[in-house]
Amino acid sequence: MIGLLATRFAMGALALARAAAPAVAQTVAITNGRVVIGDGSPPIEGGTVVIRNGRVVSAGAGAPPAGMPVIDATGKWVTPGLVAGFSRIGLAEVDGEEASNDGGATGSPFSAAIDVVPAINPRAYAIQVNRAAGVTRAIVAPSPAVGLFAGQGAVIDLGADMDAVTRPRAFQFVEMGEAGADGAGGSRAAAHVLFRNALFEAKEYARNPSGYGGRDRDALLMRLDAAALAPVVSGQVPLLVHVERASDILQVIDLKREFPALKLVLVGASEGWTVADRIAAARVPVIASALNDLPASFEALAATQSNIGRMAAAGVTAAIGMIDDNDARQARQQPQYAGNLVALQKVPGATGLDWNHAFAAITSGPAEAIGLGGEIGSLRPGRHGDVVIWSGDPLELSSAPEIVVIDGVRQPMDTRQTKLRDRYRSLDETERPRAYQR
């Protein structure tokens, strides 16, 4: 689909700047639906969404401009497409089959330099399944390989074409909790010194790229790794940091004292609610697991489903992601997760989100967290024309998308799953085996 120009990044890497010219019609008006903008504002009854040349022109009350193709959404909900808050969609066909899984590369000599873009498969099964479930964009992160830094993640669209990448090298991903300690040699202390060293070396690289010696001059970072981290140190590229424990969260926030330009985004943050005021004061957004409530590890002892609600109440920008949660396939469960946060409002002592903010947590929330709120995640003017028309309340279990539009282009709704369903709707083989049923 339409790619954002990616020219401002260092590294001189091929910018993959594609001319914004998909072949199919990208101009459409969707009328008479209950329109959800996705920015936390309440739904607009009988609203109209206008998409021209693949971008949202307007969404709200009022009639569509004359002469546009119109989709009548009477009785339906009309929303921005869902954004997979933190995922590995497109990197794996079957998680358990290593040859089909490009989520991580534990044998690679590189770390921060790893870029998921060449691994994205727009025809991955998970892309069609999630698309049909209303997921139109995904934040796609690599898994950690060697050391702390997993590499450069991308933002993709889930359209049925071969141009998936919306924003290549959109962020860097690093592990700084238990996994980070493990990758750094065995302790959080080692992780922090490794992290700081890497950023110092990246700065050194940025000052004089041709003079950077890399490992042949006792540096720990490979040349390309340093190059990938340079725009992180300077704050041009967000740094997504996976931590769960409260003390780890505070240590990460503290890194800004030494590296003030860092654009931090916390990922996970199960214990975030216990230090929510400090996350809010540091203005660090969070992409969190919605429903983790078990002391699943010693870094998540305080986990509760109220985490996001309590952080939001303290002023933190908190979105939902699929952290270590079937991240290659099941972003389609995000609406259910958001609905559960709405349900929490009725549980005394718990803190949830109201419907509008719960829906924002799976659309504009993750987009804002990584600095792409101006591009995706809502139906505000100028955003990519990603729209889903739902049979009913999109957070309710009984609802499903009926029409999915990406960049103004209507998407196919059939998947390998629906084909299997249709083949086995009947088990009758009197005439021919099921294998002839397509």
Partner: protein, 480 residues
């Protein structure tokens, strides 16, 4: 050993007289004057008996509620009365007995407690650390001698989450699926206890966990051991069942002698703890719960069960049951399924969202299961998703029928349907009051009773169990 048949002192003497293979040295030279084993003597079937007891409750009348009774019945604006731990009555309107607590449930729903037929809580507890990883005895593909109950850690916080968020009142803890024969399962009441026995469902039959497919062949194939293929899986299974038949014959012959009064202690066959479990299966006392994803493999297992004369209660995970729903109906085998898990490994590649609805629609037994400490907190939502997927393909299954997937169907598959699994008079008062329609994402349990005792109340922080592990930790006693 044979000590259970004898007084303790004699047993101790015999123990010292045993050779390494466990046979008494005197086995071939038993004296004709030796007294016969008492008629009716059997190997104890229940050496780790339940110590669970129902906690005190008060007679309770829930009024103005929508009721799904768990067997497919529904009453709108009805009432449920339970007392002395048992369901007393369901009806449109029931007069409150003297002293009963009456709860006006206007706008709320009542169902039997949710039953999860597939959980590893306690065996793979939180935190998920190596020291507590006790669910797979993956030291050999045939391990029917292990019992999941001996790994259950009652201090797993997961039990409390399943209660408070999922309305789970009964659950079956299974060994993992690394092995072809994973071991015995145990059925628990979801009541906090100091010991496993304190949770154990009184009188529930044991299950045997078996596994098809990728897991066993992967675990052992990597070690260059058998099985490394699917044909290896079945070959090891068949030899094991053949051994079990032999074992069964020798013990049946012994028991016949015992009952005739002609059995001499020295002639007692050697006990084999693994084979005892399989013998229990051959006799129908232990129910087979078979992890099996693919349709073709399930068909192989069905034929194997006929070859050796046992019955599969339930195929678990069963993501391809929709391809052979007719076969499953004909053989009376349940499928325990997820609503939408798919693609995490190749044998789950063909999973579809309509699986549960298609199985149900074909007249086969459908069950929603979790296999997951998070999923178990939302089995009602899984059922709702499956219902919705069915509806979209034209299979319209009413809410009260959907609830059978969480109640009477798993109860039947676990052999406890005479005691729980529906709101029928005389059954255990395992009851959930939901603060809305339990097939909606916006609904949570408000109160959960187990055997008529109020074990969770969203409105009362004092009715929220906190396991030892959580005491003194950040978030202790939080709403979770």
């Amino acid at each position: 050993m044979r000590s259970i048949l004898l007084p303790a002192v004699a047993a101790a003497l015999l123990l010292t007289a045993c050779t390494q293979d466990g046979r008494p040295q005197t086995a071939s030279s038993s004296s004709p004057s030796e007294p016969a084993v008492k008629k009716g003597t059997r190997v104890p079937a229940d050496p780790y008996p339940s110590t669970y007891h129902a906690y005190p409750g008060v007679p309770t009348l829930l009024t103005n509620v929508t009721i799904y009774d768990g067997e497919g019945g529904r009453i709108d604006g009805g009432s449920v009365l339970f007392a002395d731990g048992k369901v007393v009555e369901l009806g449109q309107s029931i007069a409150a007995p003297a002293g009963a607590t009456v709860i006006d449930g206007k706008g709320k729903w009542v169902t039997p407690g949710v039953i999860d037929i597939h959980s590893h809580l306690g065996d793979y507890p939180s935190p998920a650390v190596a020291a507590l990883s006790d669910g797979n005895e993956s030291t050999g593909p045939v391990r029917p001698e292990v019992w999941a109950e001996h790994s259950v850690w009652p201090q797993d916080a997961g039990f409390t989450r399943a209660l408070a968020n999922g309305g789970i009142t009964t659950l079956q803890i299974l060994p993992g699926s690394a092995n072809l024969f994973g071991g015995r399962s145990v059925t628990l009441k979801n009541v906090a206890a100091r010991t496993m026995q304190g949770m154990k469902f009184p009188g529930a039959p044991y299950g045997l966990k078996m596994a098809c497919g990728e897991n066993p062949k992967r675990v052992y194939g990597r070690r260059n051991q058998m099985p490394s293929t699917r044909m290896g899986n079945i070959a090891v299974d068949r030899q094991t069942w053949a051994n079990a038949q032999n074992y069964d014959r020798s013990w049946t012959a012994w028991e016949e002698k015992v009952d005739k009064g002609t059995a001499k202690p020295a002639d007692e066959p050697k006990r084999d703890i693994a084979m005892e479990t399989l013998r229990g299966v051959l006799h129908g006392d232990i129910l087979v719960h078979n992890h099996c994803y693919r349709a073709d493999e399930m068909a192989n297992v069905i034929d194997m069960s006929k070859e050796f004369g046992y019955k599969v209660s339930t195929f678990h995970h069963a993501v391809e049951s929709y391809k052979i729903a007719d076969l499953l109906r004909q053989n009376g085998i349940c499928s325990a399924m997820w609503a939408d898990w798919w693609g995490f490994k190749l044998e789950s590649y063909d999973a579809i969202n309509e699986n549960i609805a298609l199985v149900h629609n074909a007249g086969a037994c459908a069950i929603v299961h979790s296999d997951d400490p998070n999923g178990i907190q939302r089995l009602n939502q899984e059922a709702a998703k499956a219902q919705a997927s069915g509806r979209r393909m034209g299979i319209d299954i009413p809410d009260e029928i959907v609830w059978t997937w969480l109640a009477i169907n798993p109860a039947r598959a676990m052999g406890i349907a005479d005691r729980t699994g529906s709101l029928k008079a005389g059954k255990m008062a395992d009851v959930v009051l939901w603060n809305g329609n339990p097939l909606s994402v916006y609904t949570r349990p408000e109160k959960v009773w187990i055997d008529g005792a109020l074990m969770y109340d969203a409105l009362d922080p004092g009715r929220r169990p906190v396991v030892d592990f959580e005491l003194g930790q950040p978030g202790e006693g939080d709403t979770k």
